[in-house]
């Protein structure tokens, strides 16, 4: 076909422009000329002008003034003008433009044109940009063309019908019969279009899906023809006969066989045949195999076939072609939940893919590896994952770190391993872990009392070598503050002994305090740790005193406040210091599914100066008869007595904030600050007498229990000691009887309160 000279001249002119500015100049001139030409009468050069405009449009310049010209050209009787006009319509118009409505009539006329190439232009444009109204208007015409025309038009009409169904779902019913009959065609183009149309209809309407299930044998027959038949030059691609059609039929079979035993059985043999016969040396064969695997895994296939499919994916994993490795992993990811064991067999290859150069492959390998971690392979998998973490690309680090934490939490074979793993992650990727890692790790460490010595030694060493990873530094400071005495003692079973002096430890903490790399929160940790050490070391308390007083004038408000408070602790309330800076109790964590290898939930280790314990540990320690006493007092209850654990469980955690008891004194020192935090839940005061207040708020209600929070506070000037609280509830009817006893100003008090109604949530 002879090229359009005017068009090519313009293109040459534009390309020879040396600067953007020059190019704009050329284009402006050309556009002006085109506009002028559009206004003139028909001069035989219209198609060239529109083509020029379309080129300018592709460069990114505005071309909306050509829209009406497109409409005019489409209506022209000349084929060359129609061709460019329709192209222009597809490029410049879309269904949102008003001008698009104007071409509806032209399309309608051209659909019945005597020349099939004109019909084809109309069909193409309709399928590309037909609006819902146009589709509704022209649907009957398309249906007619689906039935009575040549193959060239039928295949286009089929895809037009697909577009119509996508735009106007209800019209699906109109095309169903025609679609059915098209399956009998021999022409591949028509067959392909028919399969696409049927797929679209079945995806949209379950009833239609039921009806089309009957076509499964026909589809199987067509596929068999493609797979077994000899070489067909027209459709062959590298040894595979019409892979495009094969893939579409496999997709349709997948939809028809899903959740249906009969249909799945009917296609079983065929799928096995395709899986075994398709040549997998080229991409095109692998494309067909890939679709086959997806179909097998999605329908109700028999187990032998499933194993065959997973093995194909396993072979894909070993393929040199990166693309194929990538899609193998995406597919395995999809089935790792359902066919876990089958995927486990390929774990080695998947783990190797962690070392692949390509970032997409690495990402897939990471996700899949994390899904394959189990109790049996945790140690070897973790080795690989930690190795990966040290060299993985930045965008994958936080995903890898959190995946490792989850895996470690679920399958840790021992406490020490767990702690080691977390420390390893913090050293390699401390900057990319989530915020809750620090409290989680602290909680884990406090729970593992036998490893305190080991942990603090390890953290101390880590701190000495690197103070840039904030999470690690925070945990290290906290541990040194808590267990500094163990560190100074020197000997430790699990690691080599090292002599650490008090000065060494204080030096380390001061380095953290003064370093510009430390975040404000980290410095807070370090300061508190330094303070805590004042009760755990013997010789250098003065040094601590001076550090603390220096920070009393620190610019950072948080640090300054801490320093001032600690100063006060040194000066005015030195007698309280030991009690305040005591070892922390076990931090309770409400997370289900904790399966640490050998851990047991430990009860409170140290005794608080005021003997307050949480209610659930309190009750079992009281002699049973006292509790029964309390229950007897609940006269209205006919239920038999609960055993202690049951009582404990129906009265879930009643946290008495430590600040209000042992520290209640401390708070008094700080000017009677209210310890109770502002609770959004409604609270009710159940007891108020001589300065002691007990408030109750109802928080969570689940099927099995209700969480009630009791808060006790002391508003007097004097200390309250030996605060004890007991509570009992009957099995039904939400009531509670509370008995409290305490000592204030030398005299003992005891009181019982009954709560009959709880505040509404």
């Amino acid at each position: 076909m002879s090229p359009s000279v005017p068009l090519q001249e313009m293109i040459r002119a534009i390309r020879s422009a040396r600067t953007q500015c020059e190019e704009r100049g050329v284009i402006q001139r050309e556009c002006a000329a085109i506009r002028a030409q559009f206004r003139q009468a028909d001069n035989g050069g219209r198609s060239h002008n529109l083509a020029k405009l379309l080129y300018v449009h592709m460069l990114g310049y505005p071309a909306h003034f050509g829209q009406m010209e497109c409409v005019r050209m489409i209506a022209s009787p000349r084929y060359s003008e129609k061709r460019v006009g329709y192209l222009g319509a597809m490029m410049l118009l879309d269904e949102k433009q008003d001008a698009s409505l104007l071409i509806t009539n032209s399309i309608k006329n051209d659909l019945s044109h005597s020349n099939q190439y004109v019909q084809s232009l109309a069909l193409c444009t309709l399928a590309c940009m037909g609006s819902a109204e146009m589709c509704r208007d022209l649907a009957p015409e398309i249906d007619r063309l689906l039935r009575a025309s040549n193959s060239y038009i039928k295949k286009k009409a089929a895809l037009c019908a697909v577009h119509i169904v996508r735009k106007v779902h209800e019209l699906g019913e109109l095309f169903a019969p025609a679609a059915r009959s098209l399956l009998a065609e021999k022409n591949h183009g028509v067959l392909h279009g028919a399969v696409v149309l049927i797929t679209e209809l079945c995806e949209r309407n379950p009833e239609t899906l039921e009806r089309f299930r009957k076509t499964v044998p026909d589809l199987v027959q067509i596929m068999k023809g493609l797979v077994i038949s000899g070489y067909s030059p027209e459709h062959d691609v590298a040894g595979v006969s019409d892979p495009f059609l094969q893939v579409r039929i496999l997709r349709l079979l997948r939809i028809l066989g899903r959740n249906n035993e009969a249909a799945s059985d009917a296609m079983n043999d065929l799928l096995a045949q395709v899986a075994t016969n398709t040549d997998s040396t080229k991409t095109v064969g692998n494309a067909v195999l890939y679709e086959t695997v997806l179909t097998v895994l999605d329908i109700k296939s028999e187990s032998g076939l499933r194993v065959l499919a997973v093995n194909i994916l396993g072979r894909f994993l070993l393929n040199n072609d990166r693309n194929i490795r990538y899609i193998a992993m995406t597919s395995l990811q999809r089935i790792v939940g359902t066919d876990h064991n089958a995927v486990q067999r390929h774990r080695g290859t998947i783990v190797d893919c962690l070392k692949d150069q390509d970032a997409s492959v690495k990402r897939r390998a990471l996700e899949l590896s994390l899904a394959l971690v189990s109790a049996t392979n945790i140690r070897s998998m973790m080795k690989e994952l930690l190795l990966f973490l040290s060299s993985c690309p930045l965008e994958l680090r936080s995903q890898a770190a959190s995946g490792i934490f989850n895996a470690a939490e679920r399958y840790a074979p021992s406490q020490r391993w767990h702690i080691d793993t977390i420390l390893h992650v913090l050293t390699t990727a401390g900057g990319d872990v989530r915020d809750e890692t620090v409290p989680n790790l602290i909680q884990l460490i406090t729970n593992t009392s036998e490893l305190h010595c080991y942990t603090v030694h390890k953290l101390y060493r880590a701190l000495l070598s690197d103070i840039s990873q904030q999470s690690l530094v925070q945990v290290a400071c906290w541990c040194i503050g808590e267990y500094g005495d163990l560190l100074l003692r020197g000997e430790c079973q699990e690691t080599e002994p090292v002599q650490v002096t008090e000065d060494d430890v204080l030096d380390a903490l001061e380095t953290v305090l003064q370093s510009h790399m430390s975040a404000p929160a980290t410095r807070g940790f370090a300061l508190t740790a330094t303070m805590k050490l004042s009760t755990r070391i013997t010789d250098n308390v003065d040094r601590i005193r001076s550090i603390v007083s220096i920070y009393g004038s620190c610019i950072d408000v948080e640090l300054q406040q801490r320093a001032v408070e600690y100063n006060a602790l040194f000066k005015k309330y030195d007698h309280m210091r030991a009690a305040v800076l005591e070892r922390m109790p076990v931090i309770e964590k409400n997370s289900p599914g904790h399966t640490n290898g050998e851990s047991t939930r430990e009860a409170v280790k140290e005794v608080q100066p005021a003997k307050v314990k949480q209610a659930e540990t309190l009750l079992p320690q009281q002699p049973a008869n006292q509790v029964c006493d309390l229950l007897d007092l609940l006269g209205g209850s006919e239920e038999p007595l609960q055993s202690n654990p049951a009582v404990g469980s129906t009265v879930p955690v009643l946290p008495i904030s430590t600040s209000s008891t042992a520290g209640g004194d401390l708070l008094d020192l700080l000017g009677g600050l209210e310890p109770t935090p502002l609770t959004p839940a409604p609270t009710v005061t159940v007891y108020e007498k001589s300065g002691v207040t007990l408030t109750l708020s109802r928080e969570k209600q689940s099927d099995s229990g209700l969480t009630v929070t009791l808060t006790a506070s002391n508003s007097t000037d004097s200390d309250i000691s030996s605060f004890t609280l007991q509570a009992a509830v009957p099995k039904v009817n939400l009531k509670m009887r509370i008995r409290i006893s305490y000592t204030s100003q030398g005299s003992a008090f005891q009181d019982t309160v009954q709560v009959d109604s709880f505040p509404e949530h």
Binding site: I11, L54, Y79, E95, K156, G189, H192, A287, D358
Partner: protein, 154 residues
């Protein structure tokens, strides 16, 4: 279905754009920018598949042109590579050893060929020969009509 097909040079200049769903002009420009940035940043021997929003992007470089095809999530990526390859073969047959300049100077023909191969975001014809024959016939029709129209009327 396929959502769009873009052809651009190594400098990011657009050579062909085919959109299979209606998208506002501004958004088209943004998508083009995103695609060119993403694809041109890829390492030479990486995977040909990318994820972008809820679509899969399949790209392949042929000489100085990048072919970038966006498909929906349930589509077969390997087959999409074959679709790109088939289009290149069709262009090659038509222009004879096609190069970027052919597509620049004859862009409307590249569109006509594409419109015989893909339709409404789906493959229209799976046989190379049939597509080639149709293009030739359409060209013939255009020529004869032009000749006819440009004959002086007596």
């Amino acid at each position: 279905m396929m959502r769009f097909l873009l052809l651009f040079s190594r400098q990011g200049k657009l050579r062909l754009q085919k959109w299979f769903t209606p998208i506002p002009e501004r958004e088209k420009k943004k998508i083009i920018r995103d695609m060119t940035t993403m694809v041109l940043a890829r390492q030479p021997r990486s995977c040909n598949f990318l994820h972008w929003k809820d679509l899969k992007i399949i790209y392949k470089r042929y000489a100085s042109l990048y072919f970038c095809l966006a498909i929906e999530n349930q589509e077969n990526e390997l087959l999409a590579l074959e679709v790109i390859h088939r289009y290149v073969e069709l262009l090659d047959k038509y222009f004879g050893n096609v190069c970027e300049l052919d597509i620049i100077f004859n862009f409307e023909k590249a569109y006509f060929i594409l419109d015989e191969f893909l339709l409404g975001g789906e493959i229209q014809e799976t046989s190379k020969q049939v597509v080639n024959r149709c293009i030739e016939s359409s060209d013939m029709l255009q020529e004869t009509m032009e000749e006819y129209m440009s004959k002086p009327a007596f």
